[in-house]
């Protein structure tokens, strides 16, 4: 029971909690305490030191928007953003309620009256922007994975193909998202024309920019992973005359799953970085736009709010990475039952 708990904690990257579990079960208290200090105490100490340095040095920097905010001001701004968000939600609720009341009255007068439900078009709050960014990054990332994994597998299985497209990959890989953006914007506005678009153009532009930049690590890792599969495993498939599609799905992909995941993890990290830049430059909704708007706004609150965004961007990036690592561990540790 305890070992199982510890194992699953380690799987999801919560290994710092492990000594607490061991301590709670009465396992060598002295050693566990020192380990708790090492794994939890020291990082907390480092963070505290960092915050101290930040608040001391920030107070010394005077900008045109006032003093550079320290941790406590940033925390205040964060609370302000929460309040703003809650107020906006209340407004939205009130709006729909009013509309409903109006519509009911209309119906009472005339049962055949046409009812219109207008959507609320209030300002996007900070938290709405976070959700937009997350949705965009996952769309772009999934699109990239759907393109990169099949091409990567094909390249890994066929050296000639890989040799042929390798120069293209090498040239496109280092291109900055900022260079892609104008092209993507123009192409999207030219090609993505519809009277009733399911997604907004700005969303499509950001997502595609993310795709273009997060394609490469997955593609290259998949290709390398598949190319370096133990030859015997492929020979097993040849001896039993596996159909090529089964050869891919039953042997090549499972065998290179760890490498594919490493690629996916790097891709998602890059995608998140790229997205913020794309949103800033293209004024596409999301956290990047929030930062840019605050920068343009230039009120005394702006710097603090931008710093909130910076911290949140960092935290989300961290969580995304943790998510991918856990997923990779779960898949590679998967028990025989779940592999069936």
């Amino acid at each position: 029971m305890k070992d199982k708990l510890i194992h699953s904690l380690e799987t999801v990257g919560l290994s710092p909690v492990v000594p607490m579990v061991r301590l709670a079960s009465g396992e060598n208290p002295k050693q566990q305490l020192s380990e708790i200090f090492e794994r939890i105490g020291l990082p907390i100490l480092a963070i505290a030191l960092f915050l101290l340095l930040w608040s001391v040095s920030a107070a010394k920097v005077q900008t045109s928007l006032g003093t550079l905010p320290g941790p406590s001001q940033v925390w205040q701004q964060y609370q302000g953003l929460v309040v703003e968000h809650q107020e906006e939600r209340l407004k939205e609720e009130a709006f729909y309620q009013r509309q409903e009341v109006r519509n009911e009255k209309k119906l009472a007068k005339n049962p055949d009256a046409k009812i219109k439900v207008r959507p609320y078009t209030g300002k996007e709050t900070f938290f709405d922007q976070i959700l937009t960014s997350l949705f965009t990054v996952f769309t772009g990332f999934i699109l990239a994975s759907l393109i990169a994994i099949p091409i990567g597998v094909a390249c890994g299985l066929n050296k000639k193909l890989y040799g042929a497209i390798s120069p293209i990959i090498q040239i496109l890989k280092p291109v900055s998202p900022l260079a892609w953006l104008p092209i993507v914007t123009m192409v999207v506005s030219a090609v993505y024309v519809s009277n009733d678009p399911m997604f907004s153009k700005s969303f499509v532009t950001s997502a595609i920019t993310v795709t273009l930049c997060s394609l490469w690590p997955t593609l290259i890792n998949t290709a390398t992973g598949v190319a370096s599969i133990d030859k015997d495993w492929l020979n097993v498939g040849r001896v039993i005359q596996l159909h090529w599609s089964k050869q891919v799905f039953k042997i090549a992909i499972p065998a290179s799953l760890p490498m594919i995941f490493t690629g996916l993890r790097i891709s998602l990290g890059i995608g998140w970085m790229v997205l913020i830049a794309a949103e800033m430059l293209a004024q596409n909704p999301g956290l990047g736009k929030f930062v840019w708007d605050e920068f343009q706004n230039g009120s005394s609150n702006s710097l603090g709010r931008i710093m909130v965004a910076v911290v949140v961007i960092g935290l989300i990036g961290y969580v995304l990475d943790w998510l991918m690592v856990s997923l990779q561990k779960i898949i590679s540790h998967s028990s025989p039952e779940s592999a069936r």
Binding site: W233, N235, V236, V239, I240, L242, P254, P336, A339
Partner: protein, 279 residues
């Protein structure tokens, strides 16, 4: 004796930077049905290459392989291979590893229930029923090799090809597996080609020992028919004059007539040894 499998004047050139490298030159061998043949020779002489050509994994440059009157030029389950490093898929259990092969080979011939029974029967044959739901990294090297043999047997091959199946195992485990293999052979009477480095193993198991000359352009140096009665018992045979006569003939071939080539002292095993290999 009828010829079941014929390796007909097989030569092979591998392309290298300095032009083609002739690894085998005119390997010619006829094998009868149910015969157990060992290939023995110094490292790098081309034993695996012969086996891979019979398996269809390599194609001969000259000559060819004929099985039951038909030429073979691509791999197939009628020539099942037991690889040196078990080559079990590590993300599948023992059962699933065998299942992958059985499903493919008997697709449309056996029902689901029949397949299950057949898989379990083959695992039973190699005494692996107790660990059938374990994955390769949870079982010992010897057990992995047993599962590899079960997988190959489950294909019901016409010829069973084994590339140093016990090479990576310790002596005791190896002896166990040799006994198991002899038992199975007694029961199924398969046609087998086995590569080995071990003279005792060759004499104990084989009906015929094929001794290869050193490469490059390796070929068959000598063929020794082993006419010891079966079932054979390793302990009883240890003092058997006939047994020791066969043994010394192979040793003489290997160490007097075909001196270990200089580069063999720095023999490099081409296949990487995976973790958890130790028995």
């Amino acid at each position: 004796m009828s010829q079941y499998l014929q390796i007909d004047h097989v030569s092979i050139d591998f392309p290298t930077k300095n032009g083609p490298f002739r690894a085998l030159d005119g390997v010619d061998l006829k094998i009868a049905k149910g015969e157990f043949v060992s290939l023995i020779g110094h490292s790098g002489c081309g034993k695996s290459t012969v086996l891979n050509i019979v398996a269809g994994l390599y194609n001969a440059t000259e000559g060819g392989v004929v099985l039951e009157g038909k030429e073979v030029y691509q791999p197939g389950p009628d020539r099942a291979v037991v690889f040196q490093n078990h080559s079990l898929l590590p993300w599948l259990t023992a059962y699933q590893n065998v299942e992958l092969a059985v499903r493919e080979v008997f697709k449309g011939q056996k029902s689901k229930a029949e397949m299950k029974e057949w898989i379990e029967h083959n695992l039973e044959l190699v005494h692996m029923t107790h660990a059938k739901d374990k994955r390769p990294d949870e079982i010992s090297g010897g057990m992995k090799q047993r599962v590899g043999i079960a997988r190959a047997l489950a294909m019901q091959p016409k010829v069973l090809l084994m590339d140093e199946p016990f090479g990576a195992l310790d002596a005791l485990t190896r002896a166990h597996l040799q006994d198991s293999l002899m038992e199975i052979q007694q029961e199924l009477n398969n046609t087998v080609i086995m590569i080995t480095h071990d003279v005792d193993e060759a004499v104990l198991l084989s009906d015929k020992i094929v001794m290869m000359t050193n490469g490059p352009a390796a070929t068959i140096g000598e063929v020794l028919d082993v006419k010891l009665a079966r079932p054979r018992d390793r302990v009883a045979l240890a003092d058997d004059a006939e047994y020791n006569h066969y043994r010394s003939q192979v040793l003489k071939f290997l160490y007097e007539r075909q001196r270990n080539p200089a580069q063999a002292s720095e023999k490099v095993k081409p296949k990487l040894v995976k973790s958890g290999e130790a028995a």
